[in-house]
Subunit: 132 residues, 2 copies
Amino acid sequence: MSGRQNKITNSDAPFAYEGLARVIHEKARLGILASLATHREGLAFGDLKQLCALTDGNLNRHLQVLQEAGMVEIRKSTTDNRPQTWCQLTVLGRSRFDQYIEVLEQVVRDALHASQPEAAAAKGLQEGLSPA
Amino acid sequence: MSGRQNKITNSDAPFAYEGLARVIHEKARLGILASLATHREGLAFGDLKQLCALTDGNLNRHLQVLQEAGMVEIRKSTTDNRPQTWCQLTVLGRSRFDQYIEVLEQVVRDALHASQPEAAAAKGLQEGLSPA
C-alpha cells in the first residue's frame, strides 16, 4: 500500500461531502426535517405542509421515505371527530440530521473561505495536485 | 385577496428553501462547485475528479449540466502533446453559487436554533399554525 493510499479518504477527496446522506439532502426532505427539528413537540400534517410549501401528495411521499429510514414517527389520531396526522422527529432522526448539518456547515465554511483569494490554495491542493 | 395571501411566500413557508437550486444542490455538483470556488484559477479535470471522488463518467456528466447552465467554463488544450481539460467557474457560476450558499447558511442557522429548546417556537409558528 502506498503512502497515498494510507491517507484517509476524506483528506484525499475533501469535496466529496460523503456525509450528505441522500435521504436527508433531497430539498423537500431537508425542509421537512428542519421544520420538525425546530418543533420538537412535532407538527400536524397540515402545518408541516404549509411550512414547507408542499402538496399533500409530495409531503406524504417524502414522509414515507423518512419513516422507512426510521427518522420520523407518524401518529394518526382523532380530535373532535376530525382525523389528525402528527409528525415528529425520532431520536435517530435528530441524530442523523445533526450529523448532516455538520457536513453542511463544512460546505458553508469551504464556500466562505473561497471568497478570500488568499485561501484559494488552502484546501485540497496536495502533493501531485497542481493547478498548472 | 386576503391578508394571508398578501404575505410573501417565504414567510408563509420558511422551510421551503426555494433558493436551493436543483442544479447546484445535487451532491456531486455541490462538491464540484465548491472545489472550483476554492480554486479561482480553475482545476484540471483529473484534479477535480480526485478532489470530489468522482469517476470520469460522472464528472463529465455533471460538468455538462453545469456548462449548459452557464456556470462552468471548460477549455481543452494540449500541453507537451498531452490533452488537458481545464474547468473554471464563470462569473455567473460564482454568483449563483454564492446565492445558494446564503440559503445553506439559513438551513444551518435554523438547525442550530433547533438545538436550543427555547427556540422551538421561534420560527414559522404563525397565526393559524398551532402545535396543539
